[in-house]
């Protein structure tokens, strides 16, 4: 028996994951504890949580594994700075400070915080991504492709997964990166790099891809072998703290949009164009991966794999016949992947289950009860059946419901345990949710969750895996009953729910279906703008009170806003994302 702890830190989305006997026991992002979105600090709370869940002390750990190779990354950074010297003093000063203060000393930091005599190991960044996806898939043989901003040196990696082992084949190195290209356009359109990429993707359907040729001509070139070349003179990330420079703006013909500037049609068209260009680049890489490995199954990961619009194009446009993508395919999944990789070296068999998503913190009835009592909130505890009735009624009349149950999901998507639910038949629901609850831009879409038995009546099945919101699909022609969760272009990032995946929300949706005739709800993550997904019952109650949410359900407790208008609480504000 071996106990392996994986950690990732110091980039963004620090996280920890514990694997006992080749099986994932717990994994969580540090941001959920510190309440700082994309927190990159040493994941002390997440590690503590993993150990507690496994019922172990740090001294019981056999191996601790970090998600990347620090020296290789440092070499790449220094090498880049040398090539751009003397022009890059600012990134140099910032980078060096971070490395001297913390990035080199992860082992030391860990051993100081947690008494531990065992081995401290280092995975490779892209291998962490690849392991997260490969071990969670049920494939015995597959090709793996990782596409992200940059790990140590690699930006795109191709390899094979054979009999539980990952074999790297080729990689494309920094700075020719598809992820960084997408981030550059994120910045160009006035969003924050590393968190605004979703917004750019959400914006794309509002525009037309008018600038794809311009981008392919002036900014990025792809060769027949799938490799790419960026015109480096137009990017700022090599010698500045920004992604793009003036020459980039010249190429696009207009200056970058400022953060709070009105969103014009031009930037919507740019968003649509870069979405299309990125899609073509990714398809090019995947096709090259198929040619190189000959496999028909694909495990795909890295930050770019969170682009659910591109994901939906893979089966249609490449020779691959099956694709597996992990729900935490971005950097938040690296601790999970690193732990599985290290376990895979020790153990005969590593048993990550493909539907193992609910591996975060759980708070029992007593904890929820005392949180409600502490904040002097008036509540009622119902039976399972009464609960379903009351909540479906509330949803039907247009109430917004905070749904807090069981163990938290790992990764960025809410899959039904920390969700805000709404009625998709009400046309105005998207606006209500965006402005009153999420307090964010009105254009951003919401995802539907649908009972698996009724999927085909509402959505086109393009053969993708719809269990974890990783693919968009088209809403069937003639479906007009769920306007609030259909995006501008008639697509939806649907979650197809099976009973075994999440029985509690399945039960609720069945009752809602009986009453309203609609087997669909809006499902969005339980948090407000700038806040990470709620973790503890206190976080949930706080978010409930701080927004215009109508009903909060935690375990079998129901809280109505109208009965709690007088509750005193300390209003928190979160940094805008």
């Amino acid at each position: 028996m071996a106990v392996v702890l994986g950690i990732s830190a110091y980039f963004h989305d620090s996280s920890a994951c514990i694997v006992v006997d080749g099986e994932v026991v717990a994994a969580v992002c540090e941001e959920r504890f510190t309440r700082k979105k994309h927190d990159a600090s040493f994941p002390e709370n997440a590690i503590q949580f993993c150990l507690e869940t496994a019922g172990l002390n740090s001294a019981d750990l056999d191996v601790v594994v970090f998600h990347e190779k620090p020296f290789t990354k440092f070499e790449r950074i220094l090498d880049t700075l040398l090539k751009k010297a003397p022009g890059g003093f600012r990134p140099f000063a910032r980078a060096l400070d971070g490395w001297i203060r913390e990035k080199f000393w992860i082992e030391d930091t860990f051993r100081r915080a947690f008494p531990f005599e065992g081995k401290f190991q280092y995975c490779q960044h892209h291998l962490s991504h690849a392991s997260a996806a490969a071990y969670s898939s049920e494939f015995a043989l597959a090709a793996y492709v990782i596409i992200d901003g940059v790990g140590e040196k690699a930006c795109t990696s191709i390899g094979r997964f054979e009999e539980g082992k990952l074999i790297p084949e080729v990689e494309q190195r920094f700075p020719h990166s598809i992820g960084l290209l997408y981030s550059a356009f994120t910045q160009y359109c006035g969003f924050m790099v590393n968190s605004g990429e979703y917004k750019l993707m959400g914006l794309a359907p509002y525009g037309k891809p008018l600038y794809t040729e311009l981008i392919s001509e002036k900014i990025v070139e792809q060769f027949d072998d799938g490799s790419i070349k960026l015109d480096l003179t137009r990017f700022g990330f090599l010698d500045d703290l920004k992604m793009i420079n003036r020459k980039f703006e010249e190429a696009m013909g207009r200056p970058a949009r400022k953060e709070h500037e009105e969103m014009s049609q031009f930037y919507k068209d740019v968003a649509a164009s870069i979405q299309k260009v990125t899609e073509d680049l990714v398809i090019g890489v995947l096709t090259a991966a198929h040619q190189r490995t000959g496999n028909t199954k694909l495990v795909y990961g890295g930050g770019v794999a969170l682009n659910c619009v591109i994901n939906a194009e893979i089966l249609k446009n490449t020779p691959f016949e099956e694709v597996y993508i992990h729900a935490a395919s971005g950097d938040s999944g690296c601790a999970y992947g690193a732990a599985l990789w290290a376990a895979g070296i020790i153990e005969e068999k590593v048993k990550a289950k493909p539907e193992q998503e609910f591996i975060g913190a759980e708070f029992g009835r007593e904890t929820i009860l005392s949180a409600l009592e502490d904040l002097k909130v008036s509540y009622r505890e119902l039976s399972e059946s009464e609960l379903k009735d009351e909540v479906s009624d509330a949803l039907q009349t247009g109430n917004v419901v905070g749904w807090y149950q069981g163990r938290m999901e790992f990764g960025p998507r809410a899959l039904g345990n920390r969700s805000i639910l709404g009625n998709p038949t009400i046309a105005d629901m998207k606006r209500t949710l965006n402005l009153k609850i999420k307090k964010r831009e009105g254009f951003r879409p919401f995802a539907p969750i649908v009972l698996d038995t009724h999927f085909d009546a509402y959505f086109e099945d393009e053969g993708n895996d719809y269990a974890r919101m990783l693919n968009v699909t088209r809403v069937k022609k003639g479906v007009t009953t769920i306007p609030a969760c259909v995006h501008e272009d008639g697509s939806a990032r649907v979650q197809k729910l099976s009973r075994t995946f999440n029985p509690k929300i399945y039960g609720l949706m069945e009752r809602f279906h009986e009453k309203s005739g609609v087997p669909v709800l809006i499902n969005t993550s339980f948090n407000e703008r700038g806040e990470p997904m709620v973790n503890t019952p206190e976080d949930a109650i706080h978010c409930f009170l701080n927004t215009e949410m109508d009903v909060l359900v935690m375990d079998n407790f129901v809280v109505h806003k109208k009965e709690n208008l007088e509750v005193k609480f300390e209003a928190k504000t979160y940094a805008m994302d």
Binding site: F71, K83, F89, F92, Y122, G159, E169, V170, R173, S227
Partner: protein, 120 residues
């Protein structure tokens, strides 16, 4: 203002009790130096405050935090100048003689990744 008080409290709490006493001990050594240089009053006053501080740590913590706060900007400037010296006197000359272009295209990956190494 808020920034300064946040820094102050950070410095106030940053050291463990044993490290805090090392700081006190250094100060006592300085006090003895003053006594030896015949600055008796100053030496005795400083020395006795430190001795009390060794038992009642908040005194030492306050001293440490105030001193750190005063020397913090100096440290920042020294650090910045040092960074500049490295960058322009060491990095730049080496950078200018090395290859200055970035390669593109596929590169063979390392097949065996050793878990114990911090590189590869």
């Amino acid at each position: 203002m808020q920034w300064i008080s946040a820094k102050y409290f950070r410095f106030y709490r940053i050291l463990t009790p044993s490290k805090m006493r090392v700081f006190g001990a250094i100060f006592i050594a300085l006090a003895l130096l003053l006594v030896w240089r015949e600055l008796l009053v100053a030496g005795i006053v400083i020395g006795s405050v430190q001795l009390v501080g060794m038992v009642f740590l908040p005194i030492l913590r306050t001293e440490y935090a105030v001193m750190s706060l005063v020397t913090y900007p100096i440290g920042k400037i020294v650090g910045f100048v040092a960074m500049g010296l490295i960058y322009f006197l060491v990095i730049t000359p080496i950078g200018l003689i090395k290859k200055r272009t970035f390669d593109h295209g596929w590169v063979e990956s390392t097949k065996e990744i050793s878990p114990d190494k911090m590189h590869e």
